[in-house]
C-alpha cells in the first residue's frame, strides 16, 4: 500500500516537472498517454480514503490500473472494455447509498424506497445511457410518489374543530337549529375536501384513495402535534363522516 502510494506520488511529481518544463502549447510533442494516465490518476486520488465513495474509488482504481499498464493509447482503447461504465455505475451506487442512509435515518420511507430500487437496478444496466434512463425513470416515479404521499386534509384539523364547535358548544336553544345547519355544512365541507384531494391525486396516480393507515406512518405522524388518543378519535370521526 505504502509502496503504491510512493509510486503514485513520484509519478505525479515527475509529471508535474515535465509540465513545468514545457510551455502549454501544441508546438511541443504531447505524450497523450502520460497525460491521460495523470488524468485517471487524479480521478482515482479524488476518492481515495473516502468510505462514502469506496465503490467509485475501486472502479476508478481499476480504470487507472488499466491505463497505467498500457504503453499506447490504442492499447488502452482495446483494454478499457466497460471500465468507464463501471465507474458511472459505482458512482450511482455510492451516491444512492449516501442518500439511502440519510433517508433511513430520517425515516423518509418513500425516498428511501426509490434509492433501494435504483440500487437494485444499477447492476443489470449494460450502458451508461441505460443507467441514466433508469435513474430518470425512478426519479420521475418518486416525484409522483412524493406528491401522492399525503394525509391532507386530515393534517388540517380545522374542519373537525369547527364541527365540534358547532355541535358541542353550550348555546341558547334559539340557536340550536342554526348551529346544527352550520355543522351539516361543515360535514359537507369535509366530504368535499376529501373528494377534492382524491380527484387531484388521481391526476397523478389513477385509483388513488385516501389512506387512513398512512396517518400513523412516522413521516406523517411526527408532524401531527397531538396525542395518539386525539388522532384516533379524529380519525374515527372522519371515517364516520365519510362513511368509510
Amino acid at each position: 500500500m505504502f509502496l503504491s502510494f510512493v509510486y503514485y506520488v513520484s509519478m505525479w511529481l515527475n509529471f508535474k516537472a515535465d509540465l513545468d518544463r514545457q510551455p502549454l502549447n501544441f508546438t511541443n510533442m504531447i505524450n497523450y498517454l502520460e497525460a491521460y494516465k495523470q488524468y485517471y490518476f487524479l480521478r482515482m486520488k479524488q476518492r481515495e480514503g473516502n468510505e462514502d465513495y469506496c465503490n467509485t474509488y475501486a472502479a476508478e482504481k481499476m480504470l487507472f490500473d488499466i491505463i497505467n499498464s498500457c504503453t499506447t493509447l490504442e492499447e488502452f482503447k482495446d483494454k478499457i472494455g466497460s471500465a468507464n461504465e463501471q465507474v458511472a455505475m459505482a458512482l450511482v451506487i455510492d451516491e444512492q447509498n449516501i442518500r439511502l442512509r440519510h433517508y433511513e435515518e430520517i425515516k423518509e420511507t418513500v425516498k428511501a424506497a426509490c434509492c433501494r430500487r435504483i440500487l437494485d437496478k444499477v447492476k443489470p444496466c449494460k450502458h451508461v445511457s441505460e443507467l441514466i434512463t433508469m435513474v430518470n425513470e425512478e426519479q420521475n416515479l418518486l416525484n409522483i410518489e412524493i406528491t401522492t404521499d399525503t394525509i391532507y386534509p386530515f393534517a388540517d384539523m380545522l374542519f373537525l374543530e369547527n364541527l365540534e364547535i358547532w355541535e358541542q358548544s353550550e348555546i341558547p336553544a334559539a340557536y340550536k337549529e342554526k348551529y346544527a345547519a352550520y355543522a351539516n355544512e361543515e360535514r359537507t365541507s369535509i366530504e368535499s375536501a376529501y373528494a377534492a384531494i382524491e380527484k387531484e391525486m388521481n391526476n397523478w396516480q389513477p385509483g388513488w384513495k385516501f389512506s387512513f393507515e398512512k396517518i400513523d406512518k412516522e413521516k406523517h405522524r411526527r408532524l401531527l402535534p397531538y396525542s395518539n388518543e386525539v388522532i384516533a378519535t379524529q380519525k374515527q370521526l372522519t371515517q364516520k363522516i365519510l362513511h368509510k
Binding site: 451516491e95 445511457s129 374543530e161 364547535i165 334559539a174
Partner: protein, 419 residues
C-alpha cells in the same frame, strides 16, 4: 376547452427550444424523432385536456418530460461522438483538439442558455427587472464556466484540461455554485426581517453554518452539493414539527383573543354600528348572537386546545409564541387591552352569563379612547422594508407597496407580558 395557452407555453417552451436547437444544428436520427413525437404528445395533451392540474399530472404520469430529456441527451451525445470521430480513429493532435473544442462549445452554449433564461425572466419582471440581478446569482456560475473556457483556450491538451478541472476544483465549483453563501444570507435576512417564528430563523442560520462548514472543508471554498442538499433536508426535517406545533398553539390564543374581543364589544352600546355586526343584514340580532353564543364557542375551543396541548385558555398565553409575537410587534391588540381581555374578560366569558357592567364600561372607554390597538403594529412592515431596501435599493419597498402607515392608536407600546 384546451389548457390555458400561457400555461402550456410556460411548461413546454424550454422543450420546444431544445428541439429547435437540435434541428438548427441539422441533427437527425431515431432519438430526435422520439424527442419530436414526445413533444407532440405533450402539445396534444394540452389541447385535449382542460384542467391544468390533470394536465401536469398526465405529463408526469406518462414520463414525458423525462423521456424527452433522456433522448435529448442521447442526441447531443451522439452528435458529440460523431464530431469527435472525424479522423482516422487514431488519437492524435487533431482528435484531441476536436474533443476539447466540443467540450468548450458545450460550455459556451451553457453560458448562452443561462444568459437567455435570465433575460426572459427579466422581460417577465418588467419594471422590476433589476431584481433578477439581486436574486439570480448567475454571475457566479458563469464566472466558473468562463474560467473553464479560458483554461481550455490556453492551449492545453484535452487530458491536461480535464486534469486541471480536478486539480483546481472547477468541476466542483460548477456543481456547488448553485447554492452560494450569498443566497443563503439573503434567505436568513428575509427570515429575520419577517420574524414569523424562531424556528424559521434558526433553519436559515443552520443552513448557512452548514454551507460554510462544507465550503471550509473544500480546497476551493465550495460546499459539496450532495452533502449540503441532504444536510438542508435534515434541518428542514428537524424543525418542521416544532413549527407546526408553534403555529397551532398560536392559533389557539389568537382565536381566544378574537372571541373575547367579539364578546365584550358586543355588549358595548355602539356594537350594532361597527363591524362585523354593522355589515350583517340584521345587526342587532347579530350582536345578540355574539353575546349569547361566543362563550359556548370559546369554552369548546378551550376544551379542544386542552385536549391537544393540556393548556387552559389562559395557559395558551404563556406559550413562548405569545411573547414572541409581542416582542416582534405582530400582536394586533395593545398591551392594556390584551391584559384586560385575558385577565378580566376571560374569567367572565362563561356560557349563559353576561359580563359585569364595569367590564363593559372599560371596553367602551378603551374603544372610544382608541386604546385597543397596538401602536407598533406597523413595525413588521418597516422591518421588512429595511431588509427589502438593503437588497433592492433605498425606497424600493415604498415605491412598490406604498408607504408604511403608522396606526393611529392612543395606547402605550407593549412593555412586558403580564398574565
Amino acid at each position: 376547452m384546451p389548457v390555458d395557452k400561457m400555461i402550456v407555453d410556460a411548461m413546454l417552451g424550454t422543450f420546444r427550444n431544445m428541439l429547435q436547437e437540435c434541428r438548427d444544428k441539422n441533427l437527425s436520427g431515431g432519438d430526435l424523432d422520439i424527442m419530436a413525437s414526445t413533444l407532440a404528445r405533450m402539445e396534444h395533451l394540452g389541447i385535449e385536456m382542460d384542467d391544468t392540474g390533470a394536465y401536469s399530472g398526465m405529463l408526469v404520469q406518462e414520463g414525458l418530460f423525462m423521456k424527452f430529456s433522456d433522448h435529448y441527451s442521447k442526441v447531443l451525445s451522439a452528435a458529440a461522438q460523431q464530431s469527435g470521430s472525424g479522423n482516422s480513429g487514431v488519437y492524435d493532435e487533431a482528435a484531441d483538439k476536436q474533443l476539447l473544442q466540443n467540450t468548450l462549445q458545450a460550455y459556451r452554449d451553457a453560458v448562452q442558455r443561462i444568459k437567455e433564461n435570465k433575460s426572459q425572466v427579466k422581460e417577465k419582471m418588467g419594471n422590476h427587472a433589476a431584481d433578477a440581478d439581486v436574486l439570480f446569482k448567475d454571475k457566479i456560475i458563469i464566472d466558473a464556466i468562463e474560467q473553464l473556457i479560458v483554461l481550455g483556450e490556453s492551449g492545453v491538451s484535452y487530458p491536461l484540461f480535464l486534469s486541471q478541472l480536478i486539480e483546481k476544483g472547477l468541476d466542483k465549483a460548477l456543481e456547488g455554485s448553485v447554492t452560494t453563501g450569498e443566497s443563503l444570507q439573503y434567505l436568513l435576512d428575509a427570515a429575520k426581517a419577517t420574524s414569523a417564528n424562531p424556528y424559521l430563523i434558526k433553519k436559515e442560520e443552520e443552513k448557512l453554518v452548514l454551507q460554510k462548514k462544507h465550503a471550509a472543508e473544500s480546497s476551493i471554498n465550495v460546499a459539496d452539493s450532495l452533502q449540503f442538499q441532504l444536510g438542508c433536508e435534515k434541518i428542514e426535517w428537524t424543525h418542521e414539527p416544532d413549527i407546526i406545533k408553534w403555529n397551532k398553539i398560536k392559533q389557539g390564543w389568537e382565536k381566544t383573543l378574537f372571541w373575547l374581543d367579539e364578546w365584550i364589544t358586543a355588549y358595548c352600546s355602539f356594537a350594532p354600528f361597527i363591524e362585523p355586526w354593522a355589515a350583517t343584514k340584521e345587526p342587532k340580532e347579530a350582536v345578540k348572537e355574539s353575546q349569547d353564543c361566543v362563550p359556548g364557542k370559546l369554552r369548546t375551543w378551550e376544551k379542544i386546545n386542552n385536549r391537544y396541548f393540556g393548556l387552559s385558555a389562559k395557559e395558551l398565553f404563556l406559550h413562548p409564541s405569545f411573547a414572541w409575537d409581542v416582542e416582534h410587534h405582530w400582536m394586533y391588540w395593545s398591551q392594556e387591552y390584551a391584559e384586560f381581555l385575558v385577565n378580566e374578560v376571560l374569567p367572565a366569558c362563561i356560557p349563559f352569563q353576561q359580563p359585569a357592567a364595569n367590564l363593559i364600561a372599560v371596553a367602551e372607554k378603551m374603544h372610544t379612547d382608541n386604546r385597543k390597538i397596538n401602536p407598533n403594529i406597523h413595525q413588521p412592515s418597516l422591518r421588512y422594508a429595511t431588509f427589502f431596501n438593503s437588497y433592492f435599493g433605498e425606497g424600493e419597498f415604498a415605491k412598490r407597496y406604498g408607504e408604511t402607515k403608522k396606526v393611529i392608536s392612543n395606547a402605550a407600546a407593549w412593555a412586558s407580558v403580564n398574565f
